[in-house]
Amino acid sequence: MEPDAQLIQSCLRGDGPAWEELVRRHTRRVYNLCYRFTGNGTAAEDLTQEVFIRVYRTLGSYQAVYGAFPTWLTSVTRNMLVDHYRRTRRDRLTDSIDDAMPQLEETHSPVRSPDRQLQANELSEKLQQGLAKLSPELREAVILRDLQELEYSEIRAVLQVPEGTVKSRINRGRIELARVLSEMGVRPA
């Protein structure tokens, strides 16, 4: 598989198929981050599209010194999520009922047996509801670490905060999320 850096160079020379490959390779990551943060399929879809439009326009400004392309892409996504969070703050305040019980818009269906699928969907939904109750700082830290599986250094680069702060947020985020989920019935047997 061609490395991201080569694809980016091809993109900058106007190679359409290279851009297509780059989009196909990273859409899943960006969409998951957006979906887990917003808890809304339509918003996640729109945000993912916005992220790639921005990346397409600013690809020339990407340099390897910023770190690996996925980290840079995550930074762009995270900035987009911050903007989105600010934009929708008023909606959330006036729509506190929906906020208390976030509804999942669509059911995602990886191929697996119906029983396991049901359990996975239920778990995914509860996790989403729990994440929605965290503050945005803690939520993004947990998502980046535990769902996107980024290293601390990568999260530090994305969030632009010291690594100690990253760890502290992840720590508090996990404890908070575990407590919320425990109240929702997701607790050790």
Partner: protein
Amino acid sequence: MNWNCAITEERLTDYLDGILAPEETAAFSAHTATCAACATMLAEVNHLMSQMELVEPLDPPAHLTAKILDSTLGPREEAADWRKWFDWVPVIWQPRVGMGLATVAASVAILFHAFAPAGGRVSLADLSPASIVHSANRQVHLTYAHGVKFVNDLRVVYEIESRLGPQPAQMNAPASVPQPPPSQPSNDPHEKSGAVPHSGRRSVTGGLMAFDEPAGWPDGNTTRSLR
């Protein structure tokens, strides 16, 4: 070091990552063994971590990539490969296509039954192309002969009716048709006797016109046939 609940909470992730010094790990374990609240917290976070490992990445909507490419590279042409020749395949799986096919099959069965020889009982020999052509040819000629007979019968009926029956042209004559004035009765017996064939001829034409138009027959043919 005086290990307490606050420190346990603060160092939880380091403990889970396994980066605590051995004496810190021992102190952590000793504390959670005696503190129910911290033990519960540790168990809950451990459970959360194990559950989050089970959560698989979500599949983005299938159209999302195409949407992104359209919004960045611009609308692209449809895939011009062999697959587009099979675009119609999903269409035939629709229920309405099945219903349509069932209707066509029923129609064919009815037609076949109607035109089949021996009152609809079909033998294997009837299915040979020669038999089918023969049967169809026979049916067409029979139908044509019936039609011709029907037309001829109608002609006879109209002719007899127009000569012997009531005079529809006179009965339905509009008020504006000029009638002979009653104040001038004719005493000429020839004129009186000649009135019958004259009025009869008029009534033939009028009667035919009255029947003619709904049947759709051409006027020229009718007139010619009667003359």
